[in-house]
């Protein structure tokens, strides 16, 4: 009897998680989610799902058009670039570059900014004024210019691009999270936690952090697209990912001279950037509506 009861319990728990997942996804933008899944899949398994070398130059194969166009073949479904490299392969590896950069930059910058925001809103006073002035000054920097400068001095590499973006990114998180924390600090549950003897650290991590999570998640999602565009812009200008590593921005730069003769070299990475950025922005909008009723747009 007891066993059956337990089994049923497990079943209901399973069902509950299932309903939780389905209700969580209610009204979710399915196409954007699908694009994000494909993007993540491509990035993770780039070496398994591609059949060409992403950097090997094969000049006789240069500028082959995509399948369905004059001279195109299934061996290069999306054609080849001016150096004879398979575009589909490079797009797939480029997804990996984009995901590594946006995940690390948002992780480092967003994490650091959240920490500053928590400290600033919790302790108030002089620390708060100092940190927020610092955040405002950082927000005044044009990010792309700052990144170009940094990359010029330190040399172009993925790490330096990540450093440059994170150095500017933290400020927005610090500002937004601090604002939220200031509001939360007025609430009763913080006072009660204090009375029950919770340490500052505990209040920040166990009481404040979970409450700013929705805002944080929305902001992170909305900024993925932005980081991808910044990275693409830097690579396009030659101040981002150094060749021959395939990055979407540098692929666009490679094709710039061939806009009139070989449209696919720029069109394919352009569409890739557009779809992924669009997908993250739409998911971010949806999450905002769902998680953050205060910011709900009319």
């Amino acid at each position: 009897m007891a066993e059956i009861a337990r089994e049923q319990e497990i079943l209901t728990v399973k069902n509950r998680t299932l309903t939780k997942v389905t209700t969580a996804l209610q009204g979710a933008p399915l196409i954007p989610l699908f694009i994000i899944v494909v993007f993540a899949f491509a990035a993770l398994f780039a070496d398994v799902i591609t059949f060409h070398d992403s950097t090997l130059v094969i000049l006789p194969d240069r500028l082959i058009p995509p399948v369905g166009f004059d001279g195109g073949s299934w061996s290069h479904p999306l054609g080849t670039d001016p150096l004879g490299r398979d575009i589909l392969t490079r797009i797939t590896y480029g997804a990996r570059v984009s995901i590594i950069i946006s995940a690390t930059a948002l992780g480092v910058g967003g994490g650091f900014g959240t920490m500053i925001g928590l400290l600033s809103g919790f302790y108030r006073g002089k620390i708060d004024t100092l940190l927020m002035r610092l955040a405002d000054i950082t927000l005044a920097f044009p990010l792309i210019l700052f990144a170009i400068l940094l990359v010029m001095v330190l040399g172009p590499s993925m790490l330096n691009v990540i450093i440059a973006i994170s150095l500017v990114l933290w400020a927005r998180y610090a500002r937004v999270i601090r604002g939220e924390v200031l509001g939360l600090m007025e609430r009763d549950f913080i006072a009660r936690a204090r009375v029950s003897g919770a340490s500052d650290f505990r209040i920040m991590t166990r009481h404040l952090l979970p409450n700013v999570m929705p805002t944080l998640i929305v902001l992170l999602t909305l900024q993925v697209g932005w980081v991808i565009i910044v990275e693409a812009s830097l690579s396009f200008l030659g101040a981002g990912i150094p060749p021959p590593t395939p990055a979407w921005g540098s692929m666009l730069a490679d094709g710039r001279e061939y806009v009139s003769s070989a449209w696919w070299v720029t069109t394919v990475p352009g569409i890739a950037i557009m779809l992924v950025v669009l997908a993250f922005n739409l998911c971010g909008d949806w999450l905002r509506e769902k998680l953050d009723p205060k910011q709900r747009s009319v």
Partner: protein, 305 residues
């Protein structure tokens, strides 16, 4: 009000100072700054000369003083590639960049205000879907790719518009449009939501009860208040236009600062890069300061804070 202006001005000055210190420190921490400023084939003698004039052998504070003194006097050193003073190169390029940003700004206002108003007035209809669709798309298309698509269609296929350089009116159309599109998207979305809020407010109901025409209600009463939210972010839009201008100038071979910067990056011409970044940052930071001050004059709520 005064306190607000002083605070914002101090912030702007600090931001510029911080940027100059970052440039200064980065260059010195990562090796010999004189090496960065000279062509790779320069002789030892030239290196010694430059080291001496840059004061690399002096204490850091003195070096920073020299560095800032040069900047303030507008002396940025010589371009490694063209061997001419960077300030001469900038003199020709700066007005061209400003013209492009100005043209883009005009296009932004011309497109985004009607789009924002229409999508708010016709909320929920296909017009709204179309306008918001354009706005959402605009934020996902990189400006440089948009520029290439335009060239592909209007120059290569149709042969209507010139694809590069400066010249008559037609040279402005594609660069200004691709530069402005991102901002169009941002302002359209912002205007739509703030206009919807305004249209729902008491003073609009009163205006309607008074019997004002719908046209007047929307375009005069509601829009004026909604535009405040757009002006608030004016500084950010200018920053966006100036930085995106670099990318657009590269695509359309526009003879401005952005193209100069691009060439500087490609040829590792550090004096050029340093000067363009510093000047663009100064433009961005000072215009956003001016916008904020103008805004504080317009909106008493800010003034009284």
């Amino acid at each position: 009000m005064q306190r607000y202006i002083i605070r914002r001005a101090a912030e702007a000055v600090l931001a510029l100072l911080a940027l100059s210190i970052i440039i200064f420190m980065m260059v010195r921490l990562t090796g010999d700054p004189a090496l960065l400023m000279l062509p790779p084939d320069a002789g030892l003698e030239a290196l010694e000369d430059l080291r001496h004039s840059m004061g690399v052998d002096k204490p850091l504070m003195v070096q920073y003083g020299l560095f800032m003194g040069d900047f303030v006097r507008g002396s940025f050193g010589d371009s490694i590639r063209s061997k001419t003073p960077v300030s001469d190169l900038l003199k020709d390029r700066l007005p061209n960049s400003i013209k492009l940003v100005g043209a883009a700004f005009a296009i932004v206002l011309l497109i985004s205000i009607p789009l924002g108003v229409m999508s708010a007035v016709y909320k929920g209809t296909w017009i709204d879907t179309l306008c918001t669709g354009i706005a959402v798309l605009g934020q996902a298309i990189p400006v440089f790719w948009l520029g290439m698509i335009l060239i592909q269609v209007f120059t290569v296929q149709l042969g209507w518009l010139p694809s590069s350089g400066m010249g008559g009116f037609t040279h402005y159309i594609m660069p200004a449009f691709s530069l402005g599109f991102f901002t169009v998207a941002a302002i359209t979305r912002l205007l739509r939501s703030s206009l919807l809020e305004a249209l729902d407010s008491e003073y609009i109901k009163l205006a309607r009860i008074k019997g004002l025409s719908e046209f007047k209600v929307v375009w005069k009463h509601a829009l004026r208040n909604s535009l405040i939210s757009v002006v608030t972010l004016g500084g950010i839009y200018i920053a966006i236009l100036v930085t995106l201008g670099i990318l657009v100038e590269v695509v359309f071979a526009w003879p401005g600062m952005g193209r100069l910067l691009y060439q500087g990056i490609v040829f590792r011409d550090f004096p050029v890069v340093q000067a363009v970044v510093m000047i663009s940052a100064a433009i961005v930071i000072s215009t956003s300061l001016l916008v904020d001050i103008a805004y504080a004059y317009l909106d008493p709520r800010i003034r009284l804070q």
